[in-house]
């Protein structure tokens, strides 16, 4: 499985460049029209009011672009929704007003923190991590911008998703669903460690 970051990157470039291309065509057409058909003495106005073949052609062209985009989206979406890796590291996340609790089931490790002292949990680089995300009170969302991914934490509901962190280092995470007074400060950190460092980290936190 590739990381969500690289999945995102390829879909994003496709959408962005098609968007830029369409914008260039439309803005170019507008600019050309404004210059070419500006009012000048003696200009004769065309009486053409309908070109249904043109309308159908343009609609079909847009539909083709839509089909391409949706196909690409579905392909990636199916991959990201598939969260059933047996070899994955499991982490249960519980969001609350205004902090996070990260539990490693079967390891006896729990990291907890709030808006005054943000929690930092660790993951091994290059291995799939299976998250089970829920909330104790209101709706929060767990966002890791570096991974280009977020999911809602909904009370009474568990959302499962897999992430894979490629590079060692620290990633900043935060709550991205408005959840009340200290929402602005509901942060967390992810240490992405090598396998050995990760095992040492786990042992130290047991």
């Amino acid at each position: 499985m590739a990381s969500t970051r690289s999945d995102f990157g390829s879909v994003w470039s496709l959408y962005l460049w098609i968007g830029v291309g369409v914008a260039a065509v439309v803005l170019g057409a507008v600019a050309f029209t404004l210059v070419r058909y500006r009012a000048r003495p003696g200009r004769t106005v065309s009486k053409v009011a309908e070109r249904n073949v043109l309308e159908i052609t343009v609609a079909s062209l847009i539909l083709a672009i839509v089909a391409l985009l949706v196909f690409r989206t579905f392909h990636t979406e199916a991959k990201e929704d598939d969260s059933s890796r047996p070899d994955a590291v499991r982490i249960d996340v519980d969001a609350f007003q205004w902090g996070w609790k990260f539990t490693y089931p079967g390891q006896g490790v729990t990291v907890i923190g709030n808006s005054n002292r943000e929690p930092n949990f660790a993951v091994p680089a290059g291995r799939p991590i299976s998250f089970a995300l829920t909330s104790s009170d209101v709706i929060h969302a767990m966002w890791i911008p570096g991974q280009r991914f977020k999911r809602d934490a909904i009370p009474g509901r568990v959302n499962y998703f897999d992430l894979e962190f490629d590079e060692d280092g620290r990633e900043q995470g935060l709550c991205s669903e408005f959840c009340g007074l200290r929402h602005s400060n509901m942060h967390f950190g992810v240490w992405v460690l090598s396998n050995e460092s990760y095992e040492r980290w786990l042992a130290a936190h047991q």
Binding site: K47, V48, E50, G156, L181
Partner: protein, 556 residues
Amino acid sequence: MAGGAPVIVDPERGAEERGAALERGVAWLAATDHKKTAAKVGVASLFFFLLSGLLALTMRAELAQPGLQFVSDHTYDELFTMHGSGMIYLFLTPAALGLGLYLVPLQVGAAEIAAPRLALFGFWLYLCGGIAMYSGFLTNNGAGSDTWTATIPLSNSSGTPGVGMDLWVIGVGLAVFGSLAIAVTILLTILRLRAPGMTMLRLPVFTWTMLATTFMVVASFPVLVVAMGLLLAERHLGGVFTGSTGSVVYQHLFWFYGHPVVYVMFFPFVGAVAESVATFSRKRFFGYRALIVSLLFFTALSMAVWGHHMFITGAVKNQYYSLTSTMLAVPAGIEYLDLIGTMVGGAIVFRAPMLFALGFITQFLIGGLTGIIVASPPLDYHVNGSYFVVAHFHYTLFAGSLFGLLAGFHYWWPKATGAMLRERLSKASFWVLVLGANLTFFPMFFLGYDGMPRRVADYEPKFGDLNLLSSIGAGVIALGILMVLVNMVISLRRRVPAGNDPWGAQTLEWWTSSPPPRDNFTSLPEITSYAPLLDRREREEEAAAGGGGRAAEVPA
């Protein structure tokens, strides 16, 4: 005082004048004439626009630098909640429907709106709703502070306690119910009160956009009124939105209204832009029937895309909503084709309404194309809840809809008041607003992509520069809006009479006087198409040319 002569004040006469003025004021407030009801909606929505805009300026002042400078966290929550709620429930929706209330009877050649008292009742409901929402600021816990969507469970009585939030819920219910009542009268007018000869396929483009708008309103607004009733019950009795599904059910109810309303705040302004573009291209609207098909397709699709607001909940079928949402590009593309097609082959005159229409066309494009991006779940997983989304919908609603509204405002103001606006001031305000809008909202795309979430009073220092740029832009917008207001005052104080048809327009409202008489028309021309006045001019030209069918010459 000149010459030091004493001014003789006759107290009795003063009282009489005051009495007469009071009587006129009461008569105006109680009048059921659709033009006066629409004017009341216009005045109220302008008031709420300025108020909600001031809240935005306060937010941009706070956000100019990282850290907390002017307001507390809680005050900031009230600010963004009331800004968003005010702009959507109390400004853009009522303004869009108010425009229809004024123009639809005139465009279809009717003497009155259908059910005029229902329209007036709708206005009062809306006004009371707005006052209820804003009066939350006078209560102990302040105004509503749970975003414009009031998501459960944060919006229940333990999540957001206080009378202010109750007033918000009641206010939203009333305002939306009021908008619904106004929309119904417009829908009935189009269906039942058209002048002889005004067939459905001769309705002006703006009226068609209003018809599509009112379809969406009657299908979706009742759902929000019910949702607000349930939310109030939840806050006071409990047990409504409970369990693991309660919060998801609320979101379904909310967004079933919440997405169609986006097009309620969009279609009428497409209509206003279309009328301006046709008039100032000196040409009839291009692709009329294709536009109608695309509007109806758009309307149908708009009722089937709401789940894209819930991609990250993990509780909806993302693929379905992604497909329907991306397909919106097809009818939107047809609208663009028809707007550009109208200009092609025309003789384009750059008057103020045309500039604002062009501002709409070019800037909404950015909002629309980024809308395609957020319709893709894997992309939305990153940008949802971030400033990217804030940038996206401000490009649709501010740089798009508000520019469309201003196109309509500059276009129809002479009709409604009988006085012209100052053209140079209008054009200057246009350029100031273009600068302000892009300076304010373009940096937000980068902020969101780089990880800045919405609805926060404080942020990481690395986001400081772009936020400062955005805050400066907000100041430029304020200047532009001020110029529009000054323009209105000058226009009314030093009147330059508009005459029936200052623009050389094409639809029936320009046949009658400015402002129109109580019953709208003293006579009607023959209605031969969706551009009856243009038909008439063409017939006259043909007659003058000896019936030779020569192409129309534009007056130099």
